[in-house]
């Protein structure tokens, strides 16, 4: 005996049939394959039964040509409940509104936590984050990715050695590590100054120590320039014992040095440049499918540099499969330049100078001379000789007691 006569999910309707011998109408229905349950004879002329919602339309057809009257008296089941709620506009409105609210709130930054750094730096980071737009109340999807923020923070807050950003739902957790700036020792230990590279000394200024070379002297790498070993000579003549004092030699010794630099410069160059014109487009993305939301049509730029940024929408703690895609279209231009040999050499020289300056740091390049030049595969290869004035000191600790 199978008893599956309560299909509440599909909805059920109770009907009352009135007429002569009403039960025969139900018999008529069952022979047409309609399931009826809870049949009760309420009076001689009336009979009540329940049928499922989807069968009601057949009932109306079956009634045709018969002398029965049908009345619907009760509705049960899920479809009717839904219909009843749908009829209440305020309730529906409130439900949608609350969903929307929840959705909006789960896409907002609620809290920014900074840990691992002292208060002053914490404040500094907080200020910096506010500048980027990360503060309670801002949209999550309008922010850059944690990686980008991390890099920005590191460059903007020099006190930070490292910062980790973790986005946990609607809170941003930052963990910073402070850079500990080690102060130089107040009194350096006794030392000598030696030459870091070979050169001809041009200028000397010794603030402490005994100079061992003179201007216009040629020094090799490692030669002693200023000694930290001071001997008091007057006293030593009188007493047999020499009084030796060790000091930290210090000074500036500028020398003329020279370098050979090899560069190769192409005769034909092409470069890309952004003109500064840009357009923004917004898309809603469902998986691979994108719906444009803002910014239709394509800009009339000839060459376009695209920059895409995706931000996922969230609902409570879940990531929705919907994302907002911001596309920036930049106009760019290609410029190609053909150079003559002379121009290429000039470009090569400036390039070599810059290269050398980058390598040496503080140094002034006095003169350059082209030693050798060849043209190969559309490139000019240059051998340059450069003379440079730079500080050549290096320190060498002195061992005391020797």
């Amino acid at each position: 005996m199978k008893q599956k006569n309560k299909p509440n999910a599909a909805g059920a309707v109770t009907i009352v049939v009135t007429g002569d011998r009403p039960e025969l109408f139900f018999q008529h229905c069952t022979s047409h394959g309609i399931r009826i349950w809870d049949v009760m004879k309420t009076s001689n002329q009336a009979c009540q039964g329940t049928i499922s919602l989807k069968d009601t339309k057949y009932i109306k057809g079956l009634r045709r040509g018969m002398h029965y009257k049908i009345k619907f008296i009760d509705r049960k089941g899920f479809p009717f409940i839904i219909r009843r709620y749908l009829r209440k506009k305020e309730l529906l409105f409130a439900f949608i509104l609350s969903c929307l609210f929840l959705f909006i709130l789960s896409n907002i930054v609620w809290d920014v936590k900074i840990t691992g750094v002292p208060k002053d730096i914490e404040e500094k980071i907080g200020k910096q984050l506010k500048e980027y737009g990360i503060q309670p109340g801002s949209w999550i999807f309008s922010l850059n990715s944690p990686k980008q923020i991390q890099q920005q923070l590191l460059s903007d807050v020099p006190e930070l050695l490292w910062v980790g950003i973790d986005q946990k739902g609607t809170t941003f957790q930052l963990e910073g590590v402070e850079k500990i700036v080690v102060k130089e020792e107040a009194e350096p230990k006794p030392r000598n100054l030696i030459a870091a590279k070979k050169g001809i000394i041009k200028k000397m200024y010794v603030s402490q120590g005994v100079p061992k070379v003179e201007v216009h002297d040629y020094v090799e790498k490692g030669d002693l320039l200023v000694s930290g070993k001071m001997v008091d000579e007057e006293e030593s003549e009188e007493n047999e014992k020499k009084k030796i004092k060790y000091v930290a030699a210090d000074g500036d010794i500028t020398a003329l040095t020279w370098y050979e630099v090899k560069v190769s410069v192409p005769l034909k160059t092409s470069s890309e440049q952004l003109t500064g014109n840009q357009e923004k487009k917004y898309h809603l993305g469902f998986g691979d499918f994108n719906i444009p939301v803002w910014g239709f049509g394509s800009p009339d730029f000839k060459n376009i540099q695209q920059e895409k940024q995706e931000a996922k929408l969230r609902f409570l703690k879940w990531d929705l499969p919907v994302k907002i895609i911001e596309t920036k279209l930049h106009e760019k231009t290609y410029t190609s330049v053909k150079r003559t040999k002379q121009e290429a050499i000039e470009a090569g020289i400036t390039q070599a100078k810059e290269q050398l300056k980058l390598e040496l740091g503080e140094a002034s390049i006095l003169s350059e001379k082209v030693l050798h030049e060849t043209i190969e595969n559309g490139k000019v290869k240059l051998n340059l000789y450069m003379s440079v004035e730079e500080n050549i000191i290096a320190t060498q600790p002195l061992r005391q007691g020797d």
Partner: protein
């Protein structure tokens, strides 16, 4: 032809122990105490009231009397009756005990 057909069926049920309700198209009635009657293979409802249910069967009628009858389920060939059952009567076609109630 039909007669031969009908004759062979009782013989089949007897010799092969096949269920008789399937082969002979007879109603199968399951009674649970006084509470339920479950009738399968009936041929339609003849009359129904609070105290009496009459069903057409292969040959004749089945009459169930009692009180507080509710048809819990009605399907093309099945009926589940609920109530207090007093008796179940088989009424052969045009035979004795056949009475028309109006």
């Amino acid at each position: 032809m039909k007669k031969w057909h009908q004759q062979i069926r009782p013989w089949l049920t007897k010799s092969f122990a096949l269920p008789s309700d399937v082969l002979l198209e007879l109603p199968r009635i399951t009674v649970i105490g006084q509470l339920h009657v479950y009738i399968e293979n009936h041929k339609g409802l003849a009359s129904y009231s609070d105290t009496e249910l009459k069903l057409k069967a292969n040959k004749g009628y089945i009459r169930i009397t009692g009180s507080a009858f509710v048809l819990k389920l009605m399907l093309p060939e099945e009926i589940l009756l609920e109530g207090t059952i007093r008796d179940i009567t088989f009424i052969p076609d045009g035979g004795e005990g056949y009475e028309t109630k109006k």
